[in-house]
């Protein structure tokens, strides 16, 4: 017998959906009114004609990619090692990973500028510093994703099985651990991408031509373009999200047809 959702359940679904969708629809409709008295994609056209839209987007996307790679290179072995050898360290790493939620980016960026703008280490003009800052901001997402991935995998026994077959550490991480937390890594990458793409403070104060500052500048100077940009970035986010879902469903295509025997 199918259980029908009650009226109250429906009410809350409708309420929740409209809370989310109404502003989006309003923004969309607003973005279509760039020309007086007609609905059209003029605002979108202007955005796409703006070369700094592409330049900043490309820059931020590249930074996001580098952040993802660097974060994974740092975090996968670290969290894996903690899982395997120092389960108690786990708590500490988790706590550290939450710091970006507590410390506002503005504090982070001034800390970075103060520390790295004078000898012995001058890094303020390096992209490395921006990426390092992004890594900190993305830490909670990346850490949590990797943690969840490892938690769902029998890390210790798989490692021991691989060891007994003669595998060394790099091989175990690359051939046994990473493939089994691939879904989690994709999720972490997606969240990191979204975070870096919309990030304003770090890029602004370290003076990089990133997508975040570009968005901010446009919204200060224009009326309709920011609305169009919002819809565009929303669409882009969903395209990426769709790719993630595709990845995950590919994982699930190898479903069980053996059954229990």
């Amino acid at each position: 017998m199918k259980k029908r959702p009650s009226l109250i359940a429906w009410l809350f679904i409708v309420l929740g959906t409209s809370y989310f969708l109404l502003p989006l629809i309003a923004t969309f409709l607003f973005s279509l009114r760039a020309k007086k008295d007609t609905l059209g994609f003029t605002a979108y056209q202007r955005v796409f004609e703006d070369s700094s839209f592409y330049a900043t987007f490309r820059f931020s996307a590249l930074m996001a990619l580098l952040t993802i790679i660097a974060s994974m290179l740092l975090l996968v072995p670290t969290v894996y090692w903690a899982y395997l050898r120092h389960p108690r360290l786990h708590r500490l790493i988790e706590l550290v990973s939450l710091m970006p939620f507590v410390i506002p980016p503005i504090v982070l960026v001034f800390g970075l500028i103060k520390s790295y703008s004078r000898p012995p280490v001058i890094l303020v003009q390096s992209r490395g510093l921006l990426i390092a800052g992004y890594m900190v901001l993305a830490l909670p997402y990346m850490y949590r994703a990797i943690d969840a991935g490892l938690r769902a995998t029998n890390v210790k026994t798989l490692t021991e099985a691989a060891q007994s077959l003669g595998a060394g550490w790099p091989r175990i991480i690359w051939q046994v651990i990473v493939p089994n937390i691939r879904g989690a890594l994709v999720n972490g990458a997606f969240l990191t991408f979204a975070t870096v793409l919309g990030e304003l403070t770090l890029a602004q104060y370290l003076a990089w031509p990133a997508f975040g500052p570009y968005l901010a500048r446009i919204s200060q100077n224009k009326a309709y373009e920011p609305a169009a940009l919002t819809i565009i970035s929303f669409a882009l986010t969903w395209v990426i999200f769709g790719i993630v879902l595709l990845f995950n469903s590919k994982d699930q295509q190898q479903t069980q047809f053996g059954g229990t025997h």
């Binding site: 099985a161 007994s164 077959l165 003669g166 691939r182 059954g259």
Partner: protein, 353 residues
């Protein structure tokens, strides 16, 4: 010289001693089971041999070579885990071939060995399946093939059947033993299941609280348990306390009745209490008259398939008596019926304190 030699092997976790100095020699091609309750140190011992735990003291030698400090990846030891531990991202064939790929065998050689292993475990048609498409028993067979594919010096099995259901457990344990014999590989099998240990092994090592209780063939362990722990742990056992009535001739007083054991005791022990163990299958009801007879009343009877287990109350003490479930041979007594429990003096095991 034995193939595997453990010399004074110990393990401490902080202040707790998990394995007390352990000396063990396993011959080439032998199947040795390590049996004990959980927390007895059997798995830790296995993990030290595999290299996953560093011993606190002592040494491990395989084929004369000291491997105490060798990393696990260099030991050439195959291991099968309770949780199968197949690589979920690899197919059956890739799992089996993984160790060979690491050893840099040619593609052709790997393919050949994988086919060979698949044939041994009778799973040729599953080569391209993934672990999650297999049942537990199938996964464990693949795990066994994976461990054996690298032609290890030693095969270690850590409670490999504990996660499987009863039917598969029995058939797979026969397979494991047959494959081990066929390949002539030295195997150490850790289990808490005495039936597995007794039915599979050339020898059984019984551990408790990090100490060796007894090492011997299954028959020795079952028929001549050296300690009361072994006697209690392996098989079902009746234990009763009786007073020495005649120490020299081994006559014991049990309540108002007497029986005889084949041991004789020091006269000084006269009047003291000793613990006697009796296997239920060594006792019989009514029928044949033995040297020892105890009178009692049937309190309960339980059908265990081929045998019927009677609970007979003798002197306010319950004795288990196993009788073949064959009504052609003798009539089985009913509940409440008075019976005579017969047994021979040499069936009594006087347990060490």
């Amino acid at each position: 010289m034995a193939f595997i030699e453990l010399h004074n092997l110990t393990k401490q976790f902080g202040p707790t001693t998990v394995v007390s100095p352990l000396n063990l020699a396993v011959e080439r091609g032998e199947f040795l089971s390590v049996l004990g309750p959980s927390g007895c140190g059997k798995t830790t011992t296995l993990r030290m041999i595999a290299g996953f735990e560093a011993p606190s003291g002592g040494s491990i030698k395989i084929d004369g070579a000291d491997i105490t400090r060798t990393p696990p990846s260099k030991r050439k030891i195959g291991i099968v885990f309770q949780s199968y531990a197949l690589f979920p991202n690899m197919s059956v064939a890739q799992n089996i071939g993984y160790g060979l790929q690491i050893a840099k065998l040619s593609k052709q050689a790997i393919q050949q060995r994988v086919d060979e292993m698949l044939a041994i475990i009778h799973m040729q048609e599953f080569a391209n399946r993934y672990p999650h498409q297999l049942s537990g028993g199938q996964q464990q067979r693949v795990a066994l093939a994976r461990a054996l594919a690298i032609r290890p010096q030693v095969l270690l099995l850590d409670e490999p059947l504990s996660a499987l259901d009863a039917k598969i457990r029995v058939s797979l344990r026969q397979d494991i033993r047959a494959i081990q014999r066929e390949l002539g590989i030295t195997a150490i099998y850790v289990t808490h299941d005495q039936e597995e240990a007794l039915s599979l092994s050339d020898r059984v090592l019984i551990m408790q609280k990090g100490e060796v209780e007894q090492l011997g063939t299954p028959a020795e362990i079952y028929n001549n348990p050296k300690t009361s722990f072994v006697a209690q742990f392996v098989g079902t056992l009746n234990t009763l306390e009786a007073t020495l009535h005649d120490a020299k001739r081994g006559i014991l007083q049990f309540g108002s009745q007497q029986f005889e054991v084949s041991d004789s005791f020091d006269a000084a022990l006269q009047g003291t209490t000793v613990q006697v163990a009796l296997r239920p299958e060594r006792l019989s009801l009514n029928g044949a008259v033995s040297q020892n007879q105890l009178h009692g009343v049937v309190k309960e009877q339980m059908l265990l398939g081929p045998i019927v287990r009677f609970h007979v109350e003798v002197e306010q003490h319950l004795l288990f008596v196993d009788v073949f479930n064959d009504t052609n041979v003798s009539r089985l007594p009913n509940r409440g019926e008075a019976v005579v429990v017969n047994f021979a003096p040499h069936d009594c095991l006087v347990l060490a304190r």
